[in-house]
Amino acid sequence: MTTTTAPAAETAATKPLPRQPWNRHLLAIAVLTVLLIPLPLILPPAQASVAVRVLIFALMSIGWNMMSGFGGMFSFGHAAYFGIGAYAGGYLLVEHDVSPWIGMLVGMAVAAAFATLIGFLALRYKLRGAYFALATFAFAEMLRLWATNSEFVNRAVGYHVPLRPESSWWWLQFEPSSANYFWIALGLTVIALVVSVQFVRSRAGQFAKAARDDEDAAAAVGIPVMRYKLLTMALSAAITAVAGAFYVQYFLFIDPDLAFGSSVSIQAILPAVIGGVATIWGPVIGAVVMGPLNDVTATILRNPPPALEFLQGRGGLDVIVYGVLLIIIVLLLPQGIYGALRKRWSRR
């Protein structure tokens, strides 16, 4: 068939095709990176460590967003991939003295493979919506329970990363206040962001989005839906695994709960929802907002205004405030911060 011949009569002058935002996203990433590089040199060390935590948060969530946002497959079990990344790094380092960088790559590969397996089963058996979500959750829990009772990964004890006498890039270990941690985390996050931009603009990303919107229609236009869904899941898992692998090297300790616990899965969801699901910037913005929020509420309530003096030191109050803020943000900005902003812009 020839779509190129003879434009139909009803077409008037052809409008120029709309510009696409990808290169602008890449530019924004580049600018932001340059701006952020000096950050750890300015921040006091405590805030610098919050900044590293924010980046880990963002990284996890960028991964989640790829599968659940762009891919439309709601994962409630991203702890599985985070944990695989963390354990791959921890296990190889502690048991076999392998560099965490290699551990990271192995973690990515294993996480991607595991995601492909889960995805294949879940999609093969046509799990959808909440059923799919709970199935992913179940797999993460199975990993947690298995790790807790498996000699192979040191049971519930987990792994301590041995301290090295001196800083080393190869072993990914520096002075705790070293800016290198921030820079590495920043680098990894930037790579993940670029990967997600490239993914979304790629053939695969477009296919994944189409499959999310309507699986049957996607198949009907010729997209091998299963293949691209699995690809999306694998990529998503690999990114989140990087977060896990870095986490272990930064915090020097991992155990089954920290790696595979359900709160990890929630942490992967939180930034994306707060920032904006299925947007490039959502997870990052969400992480920047939610990462320090715990510390902020704790700090405010530790030195309460005189009227509330009696509340000082009462455990739980800061968590209450956190809960209230969480509800308010989600209610007021159901599409997330970036989602709301973008809507604003596009209105104008």
């Binding site: 709970l134 179940a138 797999f139 829990e141 009772n149 969801i269 969480l326």
Partner: protein
């Protein structure tokens, strides 16, 4: 009216003629038939599982006890899951705060028994009180997020649970409390024993499931709830005020948490976090039973209870929860919509 227009999308999707239906969706053609075959298969599988456990354990006492405990505790899981499944089925909310509502009911029950009331009489207060709270929470918070995606609801209810748990901590302190049932003792069942309070909780679960089933199938309110679950635009268009149904359904769900809280009060240590213990299992039960299906929740609870107890025999040294999740995933692969279909 964004929700009305969103809804239209859905309505157009499921009403526009047979061709709109997912070609692969399996469906029971006539409405409201009891799936006897499925029940028979489930029962048969359970029997096989028990026999295998017996072969494996070699001791009938342990297996009989595991089955007894599994059934009783499964009843409790079902009890907790019932309210959850109702909310899930009608409002499409994954209610993470359910366990906290249960904790609230535990503390309420504790307070009432301290004031001299018998535990089971506390039901007369805890159930209506939790119902009221449910109305307030739905109207006050969740109504603003109706029709929003799963993850938004999830975070909101997570926030609610953080607030409830920590408010309990703040006001009641962290020391564990307990409610004793006078005359609670072990009751022999074949070779096994079970506490009276557990048996009563189980009976309570059966009664509650029966009541909810009757409410949903036989009453005007129940019919309206099912209608809203099936198609809320349609429900509006026959004259049902969906706002009221949403609030009432959520409140019924929390009232179930209230009943569950009071019924399990003698079995558990009462702490602000006690309720969330049940959250994970309850979600599994809800999905297993088929979201929105009250009887499914009860059956799912029993299966999970048995899986947990028998799993300890099959996989010694592994956590019993592992077998719960294995059973869960296997069931999902066989029946991706849960064991029983939503409502109707």
């Amino acid at each position: 009216m964004t929700s009305a227009s969103d809804q239209d999308h859905v309505a157009a999707g499921n009403g526009g003629g047979v061709a709109a239906l997912d070609p692969d969706e399996v469906r029971a053609s006539p409405a409201r038939t009891v799936p006897w075959l499925r029940i028979a298969v489930i029962v048969a599988l359970v029997v096989v599982a028990i026999v295998l456990a017996y072969v494996r354990a070699g001791s009938s006492v342990v297996v009989v006890q595991a089955v007894t405990t599994g059934i009783l505790i499964g009843g409790v899981y079902g009890l907790v899951a019932m309210g959850l499944t109702l909310i899930f089925g009608v409002l499409d909310i994954v209610n993470f705060a359910h366990g906290s509502f249960l904790a609230l009911a535990l503390f309420l029950t504790f307070g009432l028994t301290q004031a001299g009331l018998h535990v089971y009489l506390a039901l007369a207060i805890s159930v209506p009180a939790m119902f009221l709270l449910g109305v307030l929470v739905q109207r006050g918070i969740l109504a603003g997020a109706m029709g929003k995606p799963l993850e938004n609801q999830l975070l909101i209810t997570l926030g609610i649970s953080l607030i409830i748990e920590n408010a309990l901590l703040l006001f009641f302190g962290a020391n564990p409390r307990s409610v004793a049932l006078s005359g609670d003792r072990g009751v022999p069942i074949f070779e096994a024993v079970a506490n009276l309070s557990r048996i009563l909780a189980f009976v309570g679960a059966l009664l509650l499931a029966g009541l909810l089933y009757l409410l949903l199938q036989r009453t005007r309110l129940g019919t309206a709830i099912r209608a809203v679950a099936a198609n809320d635009t349609g429900a509006q268009l026959v004259g049902i005020d969906t706002r009221v149904i949403y609030a009432v359904t959520f409140a019924l769900g929390t009232a179930c948490a209230g009943a569950a809280g009071t019924l399990v009060a003698p079995l558990v240590t009462i702490e602000p976090t006690t309720g969330s213990l049940f959250n994970i299992v309850a979600f599994v039960v809800v999905v297993l039973g088929g979201m929105g299906n009250v009887v499914g929740a009860l059956v799912g609870g029993l299966i999970i209870g048995l899986a947990e107890q028998l799993g300890g025999i099959y996989l010694p040294g592994q956590s019993p929860l592992l077998s719960v999740f294995i059973v869960f995933v296997l069931v999902l692969f066989l029946r991706p919509q849960g064991l029983f279909r939503r409502s109707a």
